[in-house]
Amino acid sequence: MNFKIETENLEADVPVIELEGEVDVYTAPQLKQQMITLLESGTKQMVVDLTKVDYFDSTALGVLIGGLKRIRERDGNLSLICPNPRIRRVFEITGLDKIFDIYSSADEAKAGIRVAR
């Protein structure tokens, strides 16, 4: 199966979940599990990096939305890194680009999160 998930730190206290390959009804549960783990550890700023993703479906969108809701309840935020126009298009046509902060690179995301804090 063409899917990988890894978690690193973008900065101190800002974990970034790096996804690779196909995020769909089969693999999205792994993303959800990882987000739940981070949320339970008290994370307030979280980034999901979609740079290496080549397929992203509604199940995966649903997981991101669920995560965003929970993290905003504690006045935090979930940001996305998504330089790939094909994946970005999925957010655009569903209007979700208006509810997520979407950056084109890790550096942009760092700068954006620093300003917001």
């Binding site: 009804v25 397929y55 509604s58 199940t59 649903g62 939305i65 999925v90």
Partner: protein
């Protein structure tokens, strides 16, 4: 790829389970990329068929219809691709959503399909649902 007239048929049957939806996406990618679609249109078809199969998988799970299949039938003519996604996942009963979520994943899937192809028809059948989508090429 056929002259106008008889469509060419490609038919795929997969288990109605999460791990096989990707097989349907690859097969439809093969079908659509041999037609007069742009790169973006091929992506649209792949995503739309993926969403339809995902919805089938989710209903099969909710309705306990384990061991059923999804049939993905592509009818190919020069200027149009028609794809039927047929499941045996049981009735799709609307739940009265108490969350009032505007973005529940199920609706997102249906929204995506509508946005990505030219025509969609959903028909309830005895044991499941048939989703028919049409995308015009060229």
């Amino acid at each position: 790829m056929e002259a106008n007239g008889e469509p060419a048929i490609v038919e795929l049957k997969i288990p109605c389970k999460p791990e096989y939806v990707g097989v349907a996406r690859l097969a439809i990618l093969g079908v659509a990329s041999r037609m007069k679609f742009s790169y973006d249109q091929v992506e649209d078809v792949r995503l739309a068929v993926g969403e339809a199969c995902t919805t089938s998988v989710e209903w099969a799970s909710k309705n306990g219809r384990h061991g059923t299949d999804i049939i993905v039938k592509s009818s190919i003519t020069d200027d149009k691709l028609m794809v039927d996604i047929i499941d045996g996942a049981g009735e799709r009963r609307e739940e009265t959503s108490d969350s009032g979520a505007e973005y529940d994943p199920e609706n997102l899937g249906a929204l995506l399909i509508t946005l990505l192809v030219d025509e969609v028809t959903i028909t309830s059948q005895d044991s499941g649902t048939q989703v028919r989508m049409i995308k015009y090429a060229g």
